[in-house]
């Protein structure tokens, strides 16, 4: 038993396989790839997805008024987009991605930010599903549109001005999900023209450290807790998570919720915003 404080937000492949035909279940393929990888998640979805799943396009369901990548859309835009995916106020949402657990956590967090709690993440994601020889489908899925009512929780969203204030007040711990090399500034940023390093005072915990390296499933509670503590996090105090562009930060937020922490705030702009040429202070090493 994994012994999480909130086991209900993580579903197993076995659980999902038993619910596939459920009319009120909406499975979302939330796969997303770093731009440098040149992978097209929508094409990969079309080639093979969990039966009944629809594609959740993280780059498209975003604030289109900014040049920053996939920033959180407004509540009305989010509601319209997920309503079109067949998600209404009674739908149970399960998100997965093609890595195991990466961008699915972003979709989980987006629903939570918009006040919707009937959402869970598939443990082990598509790799585990495939490894177990479960059904895959390449048929297009046409969802019946539904009405989704957003209830925005702005207090779990952090923007640049909030982060600047926090630099001075240090009232919240900042935890960065990028690789140690990017965090220290010894490894180049995948997006061109960015400065290297991290937000002063922040801690580092690469999101993949929360997963079993063999199965890509989430570590049991005790090991999970140890990872956060080793990274220098006090689990009794509030945390803001951050990363390259606000996606893998949500994996950390998901892990913290599994351990019973309140819904964690995410710095939406993350390094894509903070690391732009400019005067935000940057620390290296």
């Amino acid at each position: 038993m994994a012994d999480y404080a909130h086991p209900e937000i993580l579903v197993s492949t076995e659980w999902l396989a038993g619910k596939l035909s459920h009319p009120d279940l909406r499975i979302l393929d939330a796969s997303w790839h770093l731009p440098t990888l040149n992978r097209d998640p929508r094409a990969e979805y079309a080639a093979g997805h969990i039966p009944g799943a629809v594609f959740f396009d993280i780059d498209a369901i975003s604030d289109r008024a900014t040049t920053l990548p996939h920033m959180l859309p407004g509540p009305a835009a989010f509601a319209a987009a997920v309503g079109a995916l067949g998600i209404g106020d009674e739908t149970f949402v399960v998100a997965y991605d093609s890595y195991g657990l990466m961008s699915a956590a972003r979709v989980w967090w987006m629903f939570r930010v918009f006040g919707y709690d009937r959402v869970a993440v598939l443990d082990g994601g598509l790799p585990k599903w495939k490894r177990e020889g479960r059904l895959l489908d390449s048929k297009p899925v046409t969802p019946t549109p539904k009405t989704f009512t957003p209830r925005f929780r702005p207090h779990v969203l952090r923007r640049k001005p909030d982060m600047l204030v926090n630099l001075a007040t240090k009232s919240e711990q900042v935890l960065d999900a990028r690789s140690p090399g990017r965090f220290r500034g010894t490894e180049p940023e995948p997006r061109q023209g960015m400065r290297s390093g991290h937000i002063p005072g922040s801690c580092n915990l690469p999101y993949a450290a929360l997963l079993d390296p063999k199965t890509q499933t989430v570590l049991p509670a005790e090991a999970l807790r140890a990872r956060f503590i080793e990274a220098g996090i006090d689990l009794n105090k509030p945390v803001i998570t951050s990363c390259g562009s606000g996606i893998t930060a949500c994996v950390l937020a998901f892990g913290l919720q599994l351990l019973g922490m309140p819904l964690t705030a995410v710095y939406d702009g993350s390094w894509s915003e903070w690391g732009l040429p400019g005067d935000t202070p940057v620390e290296t090493g």
Partner: protein
Amino acid sequence: MSIRKDVIDSIGRTPLIRLRGPSELTGCEILGKAEFMNPGGSVKDRAALFIIKDAEERGLLRPGGVIVEGTAGNTGIGLALVANARGYRTVIVIPNTQSQEKKDALRLCGADLREVPAAPYASPNNYVKVSGRLAEEIAKAEPAGAIWANQFDNVANRRAHLETTGPEIWDQTGGKVDGFVSAVGTGGTLAGTSMYLKQRNPKIRTALADPMGAALYSYYKTGVLKSEGSSITEGIGQGRITKNLEGAPIDEAFQIPDSEGIPLVFDLVREGLVLGGSTGINVAGAIRLAKLMGPGHTIVTLLCDSGYRYASKLFNPEFLRSKNIPVPDWLAGKQAVPTATPLVST
């Protein structure tokens, strides 16, 4: 800093209160675990929490899932509160013969009440059985899952007491506890707490306090499930060996008539404790065990719920008279403090 992170974090860790009258009467330390101080107002919060946690761990509940139970009382309130705190919904099946105040209490906690005509336990239309079927039906329709709490035979109930009530009593007394007494509704409290205490010290005497109308006193004395009489207490009194009771290490059994237990409830009001009828049976059992063991022992029992939930029965003079139970002075209006001046000048 001592902030409880949510209401669930406030379940349990209740005070252990010395009961002055019963202690002075027996020369023992008779201690009551103040379960009425749980957020839902009763010991049932513990079982509700463990039943829901168990279902979560077994993957049966997802955010927005449903908890179904057939109950008229405190378990429904406990389930509704824990469910609310964890983002689940509650459906409670209740016999339509139950008092309005009970239905209101469940409704105001947000439970979805389904009233059914009263039917005996043997009937498929008994409310507990209806609740089991309803849970199955909802589980098929609700992707987030639905569970039947099934408090009588779901041993997550007694695990709550094995893992919390028992250890708390042991710690709070510093291990200096000689006896534990409890009435049985589901059997979770008596079995779980006794199992824990016996593990720590096999010499601790454990005892059942059984109200009239229940069959367990006879069972533990003679091996035969047999009942006689009746009781106005609610939530206790069992006619069968539930799964929670199976294998419970019980040394003594006392049969407590209402004429013995209910006056103790009124005595406790004089100590500043306004409690329900089942607590009267518990305290009477503790006094019996104290007398059996002799002075100098420490006996623990539970103060199951508060009396405020029973204004229309236990604390209603007309109802008490109809049951031939003496009405306490202050309810009979015989306790006025003499005063000379009129309250309002004319």
